[in-house]
Amino acid sequence: MKYLKLKQAVLGLFITSAFGACSTSEDAKPTPSIVTQTVTNLPADPTMNISTGQPQAPTGKFTLFSLKDNKIVSNLDSASTKWDIGFRGTTIIVNGGAVRTGQGGAAIATGLFEEIKNIAVNQVFNTDQSATALAIPTGSGLGWYNYNPANNWISPIAGKILLIRTAEGKFAKVEILSYYKDAPTTPSPTATARYFTFRYVYQANGTKKFE
């Protein structure tokens, strides 16, 4: 997909190599490389088509995303474990709970993305219980964003990291960076909303460690 640009962050590699340098000979197996992936301009049921520049009616459907494969999953697969998180407007869902198919869940941590090196053993993960009782709460200041009524601007709350349990029971951490197309530097009435930019780390080995 054209609008989905993937960037390999050097951070993960750097951590891996630093670890490699310090590691002793008892472990010959190389650490699986953990990388920070950045997703830009992920549409979340937008009301503006960015390729045509024309307004469009929202579909009411979530854009489903696989953290494992770093790609969008078709809505036809909504009742599967192929996707981990979904986006529609400011609402973010996970693939777990009474109204979902997978083993997913979410919790919100406070801190810097790089600082979160593991998830606590006793960390409680919430799940999606109904269309309104979601693992990631909606509303300004309650979940991942603040809403400024003075300029109608949605800002992802800095320092809020989404801890995600994926549909398959693996773990990831996600930081939402922008809610607007091309992540504008200042609030602007002409900015196109419902295009997410976020970065994440996915741990494929099933542990809660991110390094």
């Binding site: 992802p156 709350i157 930081e175 530097t185 200042t186």
Partner: protein, 691 residues
């Protein structure tokens, strides 16, 4: 403000500082009498609280016509503009300063701020500003302090007219008459003030300030029934009409109309003074405030009509008793009835507040003055309040006096916070006062309109009064007759500040807001005022305030490393450091004023005044809801005002010209009430005067 302007500001001061050396004549020794700080007439020098006086002659020399023009030039007061022009005092919003005319409160704070331009200054004798919590005498709202406008008392036979005309067709016309016949004295003041407004943003339709005209009438009468008993009556009427217009919708539609404000009050008073030691005063104050607006679409359909009507009635009895030179007592008791009927309220709402206050002044020696006081308020809605106060002054020697005061202040939840019942039909959100919210939530739940309750209804029940502890510590230095320096440190610890908060969500996704006691803040700083009599004709004064006003919870979170910010360009998140936190929005850390007053025996007088306010927090731009980035500040701002006047024909005529905002600096986005350069001229005629 550019650096150039700041430089100008500073060079002016150094210039006048150099001029200091050439003088020799002695300063003026007139003792000023104040009433606000202790509710009794006191020499300013003996009052142990921080008090500022603005005299009639200062106001005249400045050429000001409305209250906000006078107040904005005073040290420690900053003009703010939010639902009206008000002043910030010791870092508090205008809602927290009580504004009195002749000791009685002005009402009509529709959204918290009392519009200062409602008050004409033509008949003011002096303005007294008491800083620090003064709820011990005045109850609610006297949390930051009290501004008391003392109008002229009727004295002699006189008749005078004044007129001022200037830029924006700003026109001010006044008439003052006073009579004295045997036991009866009376005066009357009439004023008309109008302007065609101005437009700082010509590219948009509609003016920044729309045309308006206002009328004020004030009168005061005294009748000496006998040597011990005196009856007096004062009344005031104010009427304002202002046009308004704005564009709405798309394609845009021009909505226009206007708003009218009317307020009036009457105050009959009986004063009984059986001896020089004992004074008993009965005051009966009634006031009414009404604001109405009507707006129409281009095809003359009613777009919106609003109405707000408040009444205030208060009988009060006060007794001052001087037991001896060392012991003075003041006692008072009163009751307030208030009501509001408004478009956004269900029915008429009532308040009742019974109160009593007591004050003891102890002067053990010539050098010491100790004031101990307190007030109890019993309110029908928010419960009881006790407001103690202690103030001490010590005159160490001829040139140094030290004083300190401590007190509790409070502000009762207002009608809006308790009873507002407002739903924005366009956006779909609602705001309900705390006395309405529970019923409204139940109602909405029955109608299946509630998606979620965010805060349990038990937690929403009662709103407490906002309260503070206020500390002031200062010194008055008078190293020579010509130089006087006042220094005051202040600190206010405020809790239970009321804020609106989303408490539930509608099925349409919109929030329902109500009010809760949330914030704990502090304000602290230092204020320095210095006056120097350079010459018998020239006096120079400078004032400076350093202010820190912060939210305690945010400071705590920053200390714990729980507040972050994201760089909008790199999208990298970092922790906010304590040094990055700029405190509450809308406060300047540094404010400064410098004034030169000139007056000679030939009837010439002149003033030059500079007012500087440092940058102040404006709005959060990086989404972390706090003030922490440079682009979240409104830039610093400096204005210069000047005036010259000359008296002719044994002071029967005074002609004055002046300029406000000499450099024409404006900040349309931040300070819409600052018009550009205003040139004006005025003429004062004293037609008749008999001592």
């Amino acid at each position: 403000m550019t650096n150039k302007q700041l430089l100008f500001c500073l060079s002016l001061l150094s210039l006048t500082a150099q001029a200091q050396q050439q003088d020799t004549l002695k300063g003026k020794d007139i003792e000023e009498v104040v009433v606000t700080a202790t509710r009794s007439e006191k020499m300013l020098s003996t009052v142990p609280m921080p008090v500022t006086i603005i005299t009639k002659s200062q106001i005249q020399q400045m050429g000001s016509v409305r209250l906000q023009e006078v107040l904005q030039e005073q040290t420690g007061l900053t003009l703010t503009s939010s639902h009206g022009q008000g002043v910030q005092l010791q870092g508090f919003n205008p809602d927290y300063t009580l504004i009195l005319i002749d000791g009685e409160p002005l009402i009509g704070r529709t959204a918290g701020t009392l519009e200062l331009s409602r008050i004409a200054v033509g008949n003011i004798k002096q303005i007294e500003i008491v800083k620090g919590a003064t709820s011990s005498l005045y109850g609610s709202e006297a949390l930051a302090g009290v501004i008391n406008i003392i109008t002229e008392n009727p004295r002699n036979q006189q008749l005078s007219f004044s007129g001022r005309y200037g830029t924006n067709q700003l026109t001010d016309l006044s008439m003052q008459a006073s009579m004295h016949k045997a036991k009866l004295k009376g005066n009357i003041f009439l004023n008309r003030y109008s302007s065609i407004g101005y437009d700082l943003t010509p590219e948009t339709k509609g003016k920044t300030v729309e045309p308006f005209h206002t009328y004020t009438a004030q009168t005061k009468w005294n009748y000496a029934i006998n040597k011990k008993l005196q009856a007096s009556f004062s009344g005031r009427y104010f009427n304002e009409y202002q046009e308004s217009g704005f564009e709405v919708g798309s394609p845009s539609q021009w909505i226009s109309g206007g708003g009218r404000v009317q307020d009036w009050n009457i105050l009959p008073t009986f004063t009984y003074q059986p001896s020089t030691r004992w004074k008993l005063q009965q005051r009966l104050y009634y006031s009414s405030y009404q604001a109405q607006s009507e707006l129409y679409t281009p095809d003359n359909q009613l777009f919106e009509a609003t109405n707000f009507h408040q009444t205030f009635f208060r009988p009060e009895l006060q007794s001052n008793y001087i037991l001896s030179e060392k012991h003075i007592f003041t006692l008072g008791i009163g009751n307030t009835w208030e009501s509001v009927t408004a478009t956004r309220y269900e029915g008429t709402k009532y308040f009742q507040n019974l109160y009593a206050y007591a004050q003891y002044e102890w002067l053990p020696t010539q050098r010491w003055n100790i004031v101990l006081g307190g007030r109890a308020d019993v309110h029908t809605v928010y419960g009881s309040q006790l407001s103690p106060k202690l103030a001490v002054q010590y005159e160490a020697n001829q040139w140094l006096t030290v004083r300190g005061s401590w007190g509790r202040g409070f502000k009762a939840p207002d009608f809006r916070q308790l009873y507002l019942n407002f739903t924005n039909t366009v956006a779909g959100y609602s705001v309900f006062g705390t006395e309405e919210i529970v019923t409204m939530l139940k109602q909405l739940q029955q109608q299946n309109q509630l998606a979620e309750i965010l805060i349990s209804t038990e937690a929403l029940t009662q709103l407490k009064a906002e309260s503070s502890f206020s500390y002031n510590l200062g010194a008055k230095l008078q190293p020579s007759k010509k130089l006087q320096v006042n220094i005051n440190f202040f600190r206010n610890d405020v809790e239970n500040l009321i804020e609106s908060q989303a408490v539930a969500r509608r099925t349409n996704g919109q929030n329902i807001f109500s009010y809760r006691n949330l914030q704990s803040i502090y304000t602290q700083g230092i204020e320095v005022d210095a006056t120097y009599q350079i010459h018998s004709t020239i006096s120079l004064s400078v004032g400076y305030q350093y202010l820190d006003a912060k939210d305690k919870a945010i400071e705590e979170k920053i200390a714990k490393g729980e507040i972050f910010r994201r760089n909008p360009t790199t999208l990298v998140t970092t922790r906010v450091k304590a040094a990055d936190y700029g405190g509450l929005m809308g406060r300047s850390r540094h404010t400064f004023n410098g004034k030169v007053f000139y007056q000679n025996a030939k009837g010439w007088s002149a003033t030059f005044r500079a007012i500087y306010r440092g940058r102040q927090g404006w709005a959060d731009r990086n989404g972390n809801l706090i003030l922490d980035e440079d682009n979240e500040y409104m830039p610093n701002f400096c204005t210069f005002n000047a005036s010259i006047s000359k008296e002719f024909w044994s002071k029967k005529i005074r002609w004055q010209i002046g300029v406000d905002n000499l450099l024409g600096s404006t900040q349309p986005d931040y300070l819409p009430n600052v018009a550009g350069r205003l040139l004006w001229t005025s003429l004062h005629l004293q037609l008749f005067k008999k001592e």
